[in-house]
C-alpha cells in the first residue's frame, strides 16, 4: 500500500500547456504539501494544506494553483507552463502541523519536463 501516491511519475509537455499533478495519501494525515526540487536538488516548499485549508503559500507564480477537494488529496495545477518549471515535484503529508509533525512522508515525485 503506497502511503503517498503521485500521478503521473513523468510528465513531458510543451511550453504554454496546462497540466495537473495529483497526490493522494492514505495515512489519515491532516496536512499535505507540495515541494519543488530543482536541478540542483534543492527542495523548496510551495504550498501546504491542513484539512483542506491553505496554510502555507510561498512565493510561487500565480500559474501554480493547488486544489484540495478533501484532506486526503492535494492536486497541483500549472497553467502556461514555462521551461523553468522543469523540476521534480514532491507531494508530502504529515500527521498534523500545529503540534509539530513526527516526520514527513513523501511521494515518489513527479518529474516534469517542459520542452
Amino acid at each position: 500500500d503506497t502511503a503517498v501516491s503521485q500521478t503521473p511519475k513523468y510528465l513531458v509537455t510543451q511550453m504554454g500547456n496546462d497540466k495537473s499533478i495529483k497526490c493522494e495519501q492514505n495515512l489519515g494525515h491532516d496536512t499535505m504539501y507540495w515541494y519543488k526540487q530543482d536541478s540542483k536538488k534543492f527542495l523548496k516548499i510551495m504550498f501546504s494544506y491542513n484539512n483542506k485549508e491553505l496554510i502555507i503559500n510561498e512565493t510561487v507564480p500565480n500559474r501554480f494553483s493547488p486544489k484540495s477537494p478533501d484532506k486526503a488529496h492535494l492536486n497541483l495545477h500549472i497553467n502556461s507552463l514555462e521551461l523553468g518549471d522543469s523540476a521534480v515535484y514532491f507531494c508530502a503529508s504529515s500527521q498534523n502541523w500545529d503540534r509539530g509533525p513526527s516526520g514527513y512522508t513523501f511521494g515518489s515525485g513527479t518529474r516534469l519536463t517542459v520542452v
Binding site: T31, Y33, Y35, K40, K41, F42, L43, K44, I45, S48, N50, I55, I56, F90, A92, S94, W97, D98, G100, P101, S102, G103, Y104, F106, G107, S108, G109
Partner: protein, 112 residues
C-alpha cells in the same frame, strides 16, 4: 532569514570508511531537525529526527546525528559506510509549525 547549510556538496568514500556530513542551521528558536535520504530513483525517506531530549539521535541503517545547540549544527554520522549508502542526503529544520526548510543536499558516493 532561516536557512540550512550543507557545505559538503559531494562526498566520495570507500566502503568501511567513516562518514560525517555537516549541517548547520540558522534559527534562534526551538528547532526540530531531520535528516532525509534519497536513494537513486526513489523518494525521500526519513533517516532520523531530533525534537528534544538526548542530543545524540540514532536513526535507521546505523546512522546517527548529534545536535549541538551552541554550534547550530546537526551533523550526520555513520561509523562504517556501505556501497548501498550511495544516495543524496538532506538536512532539514522545522523552524515553525509546518515550515520546513531543506538544505541543498550532499551527494554521497561509495566506492566498492
Amino acid at each position: 532569514a532561516q536557512s540550512v547549510s550543507q557545505h559538503n556538496h559531494h562526498v566520495i568514500l570507500s566502503e568501511a570508511a567513516s562518514l560525517e556530513l555537516g549541517c548547520n542551521y540558522s534559527y534562534g528558536g526551538t528547532v526540530n531537525l531531520f535528516w532525509y535520504v534519497q536513494y537513486p530513483g526513489q523518494h525521500l525517506q526519513l533517516l532520523l529526527k531530533y525534537f528534544s531530549g538526548d542530543p545524540l539521535v540514532k536513526g535507521i541503517k546505523g546512522f546517527e546525528a548529534e545536535f549541538i545547540k551552541s554550534k547550530f549544527s546537526f551533523n550526520l554520522r555513520k561509523p562504517s559506510v556501505q556501497w548501498s549508502d550511495t544516495a543524496e542526503y538532506f538536512c532539514a529544520v522545522l523552524s515553525s509549525a509546518s515550515k520546513i526548510i531543506f538544505g541543498s543536499g550532499t551527494r554521497l558516493s561509495i566506492r566498492p
